[in-house]
Structure formats: C-alpha cells, structure tokens
C-alpha cells in the first residue's frame, strides 16, 4: 500500500475540527452569542499567516512584487480585525456582571 497523501491528514484534521466546533459552540450560552461572533471573527483573521508569508516574500519579479503588495494589504486588513475583534470582545465581556448580593438580606422574594 502507498503512503497516505498528506492532504488526507489535513482533511481528517478539518473534519474533526468541524465536530469539535459543533460541540463547543453548542455549549456556548446564548447570552454570549454576540461575543461569540466577535471572537470567531477575530480568530478567523488567523488568515493573517498567509498574508504575512506573502508580505515577507522576496520581491523578485513582477508576480512576486504584486503578491507582496497584496500580502501587506492583507496584513493591514487582518490586523484591523484581530485588534478590533479581540478588544471589542473584551469590552463586551467585561460588562457581563452577576447580581450584586442583596445589600439587605431577606429581601422579599
């Protein structure tokens, strides 16, 4: 038998991650669905790794220069998302407070 194509391993990782995502997201409390969206938005900007590679590429040749330019722009856009996404999530999460314990115990229920 031949060795397994690395693409198959990647597919396996992907499929398993979909399942992990499925179960993890169902356990997110509905009260935090907005922060969930903003944080998933921030982490999907991990696409910045692709932009970084392109931006760092040696700009030899026209195609490479073009790719480099795209990469730099990509880094910029993804940075907006990463900083904006995580910070706005942090700002939101900081607002979620529990009930302060009643100042006067024995408050009628």
């Amino acid at each position: 038998m031949d060795a397994v194509d690395p693409n198959v391993f990647r597919l396996a990782i992907f499929v398993l991650a979909v399942f992990v995502g499925y179960y993890v997201v169902w356990s997110v409390t509905p009260a935090l669905h907005t922060p969930l969206m903003s944080v998933t938005n921030a982490i999907s900007s991990v696409i910045i790794v692709g932009a970084l590679i392109a931006a760092a590429a040696a700009a030899a040749g026209e195609g490479a220069q073009f790719a480099k330019g795209l990469g730099v722009l990509g880094v910029l856009l993804a940075s907006i998302n990463i900083f904006g996404g995580f910070l706005v999530t942090q700002r939101m999460l900081a607002m979620y407070k529990k009930k302060e314990r009643p100042a006067k115990p024995g408050r009628p229920d």
Binding site: N7, R10, I13, F14, A17, V18, G21, Y22, V25, W26, S27, T29, P30, L32, H33, T34, P35, L36, M37, S38, V39, T40, N41, I43, S44, V46, I47, I48, V49, G50, L52, I53, A54, A55, A56, F66, L70, G71, G74, V75, L76, L77, A78, S79, I80, N81, I82, F83, G84, F86, L87, R91, M92, L93, M95, Y96, K97, K98, K99, R107
Partner: protein
Amino acid sequence: MSADFAALLYLVSGILFIMALRGLSSPETSRQGNYLGMAGMAVAVGTTLWVVELNGLAILLILGAVIVGGGIGAVIARRIAMTDMPQLVAGFHSLVGLTAVLVAAAALYEPKAFGISAPDGGLKALSLVELAIGVAIGAITFSGSVVAFMKLQGLMSGAPIVFKGQHWLNLGLGVAAAVFIVFLTASGGDNKTAFWIITVIALVLGVLLIIPIGGADMPVVVSMLNSYSGWAAAALGFTLENTALLITGALVGSSGAILSYIMCKGMNRSFISVILGGFGADAASAGAHGQVDRAVKLGSAEDAAFIMKNAGKVIIVPGYGMAVAQAQHALKEMADTLKAEGVDISYAIHPVAGRMPGHMNVLLAEAQAPYDEVFELEDINAEFATADVAFVIGANDVTNPAAEDDPTSPIYGMPVLQVWKARTVMFVKRSMGSGYAGIENPLFFRDNTLMLLGDAKKMTESIVKSLD
C-alpha cells in the same frame, strides 16, 4: 525552526482557539477564554514570522501594516456603540473575506513563497481547486458583508430586493464560477484571468445573495456570513497546508452555521426560505386584517409607574426598538427603582430579538443588568403566568399570540414569549404601526394591554420620574 516544529505550534494555536470558544460557555470563564484566543493568535503570528525569512524592508512593511491596522481596529473597538455591534461584526466579516481574496491571489502569483509550488513552479491541481474555492467564498463573504453592513447601518433600505429570475441568475453565476475553476485548474494556475473572473462572479453573487433578505432576517444573515468567513479560511488552510487555518476555519464555519440554525429556529423558518429571501415584502398584506379601527387602551408614564410600583413581579421584554432608542440605561434605572420598591424583576430574551444573536444580552450587560436576571425564552415562558406585568419595550412580533393560535399568520409556528399570560401587558412603542414583519399584533387590542406610545428611552425615563 523546522517545518515540523512550526506545524506543531500551529496546532497549539488551533487548540488555544478551541479553548477560547469553550470559555464562552459561561460569563465567568469567558474573559479568560478571550485571552486564550489572543494567545493563540500571538502563537500563530509569531510562528509565521519565525518561519519566513525577513529582510529589513519586509519587517518595516509588516510592522507598518500591523500598527496602522491594529490602531484602526483598537480605536473602532473602543469607540463603537454597543447598539451598533451588528454592523460592526458585518464590517469585520467583510475584512476577513477581503483578506482571504488577497491571500489567495498572492498564493497564485507567488506559490514559491508559500512552499506549495509544484516541481514545475506552478501549482498542484488540488491546491488550485482549494484556492479557487477559497477566493470564491472569500469574495462572497466580502461583498455580502458589505451589503449586510449597509443594510444594518441604514445606508441602504432594509427592505428585500427581489426580481424575477433572481434564483436562476444566482444558480447560473454559481455554475459559471465552477466552469472557470475548471479553466484555472486546467491551466495549472497560468490562467490568471480565470482567477479574477471567479473573483468578480463571486463578488456579484455575494451582493445578489444578500439583497433579497429583509431586515428582520438580519440575525440569520450575520451568522451566515460569519460561517462563510470560516469556510473561506479553511479552504485557504488546505491550499497553504496550514493547520491553524484549517482548525480555525472549521471552528468559525460551524459556529456560524449553528448560530444561523438557532436564529432560523427562533423564527420557525427554514434556512432555505431565509436565503431565498423576500420575507417582509409580501407579509405586509397579512397585516390588513381590518383591525385598524379597533380600540386600544393608551396609557401614560404615570399609569405605567403606578401599576408597576404595586406589582410583585415584572418581566421586561426588550426588542430592537430598545436598541434603536438606546433605552437600555433608562430601562436599567427603572428596574433598579422598582427593585428598591420590592418588585421582582427579570428580563426575557427572544432568540431573534435585535439584529444579531445575543444582541439584547449585550445591551443589557452594557446597562449593567445582572446576567442572572436575564433569561432565554424556554427558561422564562412559564413565568409569565405568575407575572403581574410584562413590560415589552421595542419588541412586537416576538410576543404575537397569532404565532400560536392563528394558522393563517405568516409567523404561525414561531416560538413566542407568552406575555399575554401576565396580568397586565405594557407595550412601549413609537406608534401603532405593525412590527418588522408587518403583522398586526392582536395583543394591542386586549383589555389588559396598556399601550405606551412614544420613544422608548423618553417613555422609560418618564416612568422612572413618575416612580420617584
């Protein structure tokens, strides 16, 4: 650093992202979760910068881009009003989509840099297919999110735009994109024109997919675009052979899909019918049931204050109108004043209240309403029967009993908050107009309903004044 070690670090980053989402299972662990997410991002970026060969110019460019982009992002995050979260998220989705397009193009023009070039210097067929799918989803996410942003921001009417043959046009464009993916692949990546044609088709498709969807369905749209941005990242994760991207894309993709499902369920509509759109346009006719002339009981702030002050239990039902009027702080003040009078206060949130999942919860949190007083529909619906007052502020359709007892109603079957079981129902509304779905709410005409017409914020403020 070896490629194997880098791959392991990307895996660590992916796991940190999983932990970040896991943290959101409760507000207590959520803040820590967000930090884990940041750590995951730092690991991914750090690893990449370590792996690539950086020269002075590259460092300068990258640093500049991160500082400018990060600065813009940080300022937006600080300044944005919580009521504007839906459009902010839509705007951010568009950036993920656009970045995906840029990265895909860069990979096509310079595969060598990504270490994914075939022996002849071009791209492998499989990589090209993945790349083309990535750019297509990315472009759809981008233009679709821009449209969603404009609708939410009010730059464009929220009304659905439908025309004859729309779905056939979309289907045709989808097929055309697939054909050009074949061309691109067959050319071994040399046919750059095919790549850009795919991009343009996808951009048009993104617009066409979102314009027929009405304002009330925006929670589904925002979640759906969230999902797309994830799938775009995952597709590029395959192209770039990067585990962090693969895992993250899968997480975000399934997260958005689940949220879309929850939103659809909250409206008792199938995902397909939301996508096909047009809701809210034809529903207007359903409102013309000839109930226009029926008598309603109009109340004043003083009446409302008097009734609530003497109530034992008040359940507050916030809706989009509260967000529009920015009434959450006044509402919290009213709740505090009532609590001081010994009234039991809780909040009832319908899954699709507002313009995005969890929208109301964030606004209440902003106003510092404790989250353990805020309940989801299934947890609080039984409580209305024991409540003295249901205080509905800026919500309408989600309280409409027609959803339970009128099979001819367009919203029949949708889960609703059973506010009518409370002894008195108060509606704070701007006018007697029907809700977003254009459906008359029979509750307005009941004897135990008190209509408080006016701006939600001003009305709540005058109630607070009358309570003193």
